[in-house]
């Protein structure tokens, strides 16, 4: 069942980059967990938990690698439906944390169906796109978009605008990757931006506030603007070489909010400076480049679209998270892959890598398929 030759075709570059990024994330989390108190330094529990999540992720990743990705096609619809059911379930019986119903309590851990939905959209999207010929016309475009819109609407209700946007952006990236028919593209270029103002009315007040605050952080320096300001102070004060590991005052003295999760990169920027940040940025770009290679070399359209979907899964997260931390995008709760703390997110990240590795290692096996 398992072909030994597959091992030789594993994309070791991607594995290495993933390992390095995870390691950087863990080290950074160690620092983010350290809190300076009057008696010295105190460590909170995030660090150990993240190691556990990493292990769980590796396990899931291994499982995914073992199963030929072409079998995903067969389960794409059932899995998609299941994830929709879970999303509906979460809105009925979900656990409310911070005023949002996003988690299903499974006893040993809290499941975030949104993460499963991302994978479902990605696989189903890839399957549909692979079956369509040429660039997308209105009909095909509509079909594919529906795959994203249905879960997105359910997610928005949680409310989790960030994830909903994330789902649509992943699918959107895949659609662009496939290509849109010239006429359709021109219409969309004109129509889409003009619908944006209407979107404003669907936003919650706090979401509107975030966007306003992004435009002018000074107008709410102790509220939403606080995050943006403190994060830029952390990064800016890092300078070229940074303040050094465990030396970031912004994070250790708790000026930086959500430093384990959404603002973990600010901790990194403060302690490792411009030097470290650019290296990390380079790592992320190389990481994306490896996925790009996989998408290019995949031996079938489905594999290519899967890899492209994973590419956009990571690309948007990196873009939005860093953009938010660096103060050039509004604050949306999206973590930075491998660097931010997060259970479901970590496991899903490894799943995604598993999918890509899966596609990569089977690029020669099915030559005649």
């Amino acid at each position: 069942m398992f072909d030994r030759r597959l091992v030789f075709h594993i994309n070791w570059g991607l594995v290495a980059l993933t390992a390095i990024l995870f390691l950087v994330g863990v080290i950074n989390l160690y620092s983010a967990s350290a809190l300076r108190v009057a008696t010295g330094i105190e460590l909170d529990s995030y660090f150990n938990k993240q190691l556990l999540w990493g292990g769980a992720g590796l396990l899931v990743m291994s499982c995914i690698v073992l199963v030929d990705y072409r079998h995903f096609k067969a389960v794409s619809w059932p899995y998609f439906v299941l994830s929709l059911l879970l999303l509906v379930g979460v809105s009925v019986a979900g656990k409310t944390i911070y005023g949002a119903r996003r988690w299903l309590d499974l006893g040993f851990f809290n499941l975030q169906p949104t993460e499963l939905a991302k994978i479902a959209v990605l696989i189903l999207g890839a399957r549909l796109l692979a079956r369509m010929d040429g660039r997308l016309g209105w009909v095909n475009l509509g079909k594919v978009l529906l795959v994203g819109l249905v879960p997105a609407v359910l997610v928005v209700k949680q409310p989790d605008l960030g994830s909903a946007l994330n789902i649509l952006l992943i699918l959107g990236g895949m659609i662009l990757f496939k290509g849109i028919a010239g006429g359709v593209f021109k219409v969309l270029i004109v129509v889409l931006p003009s619908t944006l103002p209407f979107g404003w009315f669907f936003l919650h007040d706090y979401q509107k506030q975030r966007i306003l605050t992004f435009l002018d952080p000074g107008n709410d320096p102790l509220g939403a603007g606080y995050h943006i300001i403190q994060s830029q102070i952390a990064i800016g004060s890092g300078g070229f070489w940074g303040k050094g590991f465990l030396q970031g005052t912004q994070s250790q003295l708790r000026f930086l909010p959500e430093k384990h999760t959404d603002f973990a990169f600010a901790v990194f920027g403060e302690e490792w400076g411009f030097f470290g940040s650019v290296i990390l940025l380079t790592l992320f770009c190389s990481f994306l480049y490896q996925i790009y290679i996989v998408a290019m070399e995949a031996k079938d359209d489905f594999g290519s679209y899967l890899a492209a979907g994973v590419f956009f899964y990571f690309f948007w997260q990196i873009l939005i998270n860093m953009g938010m931390v660096l103060g050039i995008m509004p604050v949306v709760g999206i973590p930075l892959p491998f660097i931010s703390y997060g259970g479901s997110a970590s496991v899903v990240n490894f799943c995604m890598i598993g999918v890509v590795l899966n596609v990569a290692m089977r690029r020669f096996v099915f030559k005649n398929a």
Partner: protein
Amino acid sequence: MGAFDTPERPRIFSGPNLLLICIVLLFCVFGIRLWYLQIYKNDFYTSRAQENRTRQSTMFSPRGIIRDRDGVLLAENTPAYALALVREDCPDIPKTLDQVSRWTGQPRDELEKVFEIGRKRVKHFDEQVIVPNIPFELVALVEAHRLDWPGLTIAVRPKRSYAYGPTLAHVLGYVARANEEELNDDPDLQLGDDVGKQGVEYVLERRLRGAKGLEEFEVDASGRVLSSRIVTQPVKGEDLSLSVSLSLQEVATKALDGRAGSVVALDADTGEILAQVSLPSYDPNEFVVGISHAKWKELLEDPEHPMQNRPVQSAYPPGSVFKLVVGGLALESGSVTPATTVFCSGSYKLGERSFRCWNKGGHGLVDFKKSLRESCDVYYYQLGERLGVNAISDYATRCGFGVRTGVELPHERSGNMPTAEWKLKRFGEKWQRGETLNYSIGQGYTQTTPLQVARFVAALVNGGKLLRPTLLATASPDVIGELPMKASTRKLILDAMVATVEEDRGTARLLRRTGIRIGGKTGTAQVVKLMDKYEKKKTQEIPYKYRDHAWLAGFAEKDGRRYVAVAMVEHGGHGGSDAGPVVAAVFDALFGVQQGN
């Protein structure tokens, strides 16, 4: 077939190009942004991070304590509580001010005004005093509601307190809240600080104040203090011992018996001021807690001017006391000898005008000693004629009249020793010969302060040294000049002053004490040119404001201790009988003489 083996060539924004563009864009945009934040704006953010984690707080230092020469506490610091606000800790300032208004009963808009004025001057996280001097019951109330009103704190600030209130008000002065102008002029001052406004507190402000310290705290985001260090140690203000004796001050105050006037007592050899009384007085403690507008107006508009420090800030004609100066000049210039006699018939004729002696019956033949002892005006009219206005002015100035003494008290008046030139400039009129006669008996435009008189007498007594009078006990004598008088001249004058006390015809007989060498000179300073209708009347029958000022300048020595005391009773009537008992009381106290001897 791969995804891009389609016959159509991929467009720029789709397929592999799209992914590569994404990667390059990601790298470029964030690389530039990182460069901007971490390199270009590094200094800015570094200081912001520093501001985040450090708070500075002022360490107050107590003001120096002031004691009298015997160690009695005159001005000390007592703890006082103030209601203060820390802006950064206060989530709702308007609501908090409402509550403060409810607690203290102070009008809401006034509190708002105080807050607004201070806002710009108070550092981040520093306390801003909103209501100074709150009673202890309110302190307890605020403490009890601490959690309900974050941002409100009780600030403990030392408050100045003057145990003897009005008795030393004009010496010590007072401290009060620094005003806008003082805050602008002195960078060391902070809003809510007290500064010396009058007296020694004002003049020696720098020495008394000390210096504030600065403490720096490292804090976390919730304001918890992690560590602290003292950046600058506070320096306590210097403690001062004054030359003034509280007990003597009380004796002199009592002797003035509520009348408006001055008393100055000096140690003749050191220039130390032992007592310096100015009546009426005021209570300096009222200024410390913040005087009400009504009370302030009342003090300013009081016709008796309680805020005026008379010994140094009021200048009067010296009257006959000035004869000591004119007599000295006459002897020094050789215009007269001690034996020269002048006949006093009760008046002196100059041209068509007749100048009267106070003794209408006349003194008969008057020599130098008798001229002082009995204060004969005619004798001095004649000296004035011989000496001339400018010589008198010049000489009096060298004796310390008409110039500031330099004592540690603010707003000292210099007085005035008129010259012919001065009058021309001041009034555009020529000096009249008759005015020189008036001048030589210390009337007219002549103006001097009680302290100048005291210093002059001290110089006569101490061997001719013109000293800078001082309120500080530790100061060594500061000799600023020499009296323009030979020792023999001084001796003649002193002997005449002793005769004024000792001999039965003397005008200062009241001062006579056995066992102590006491000398004196009386003076009566005309307030207005005596109007005929009051001329024959007794003092009591003349309206208060037209009554003459009464002077007595005396010295006393025993066992090598030499003191000078000058009393000046405004509208007191006659020098000997009205100012004399005051000086006598001072000497009695200084030499421990029991009253009623």
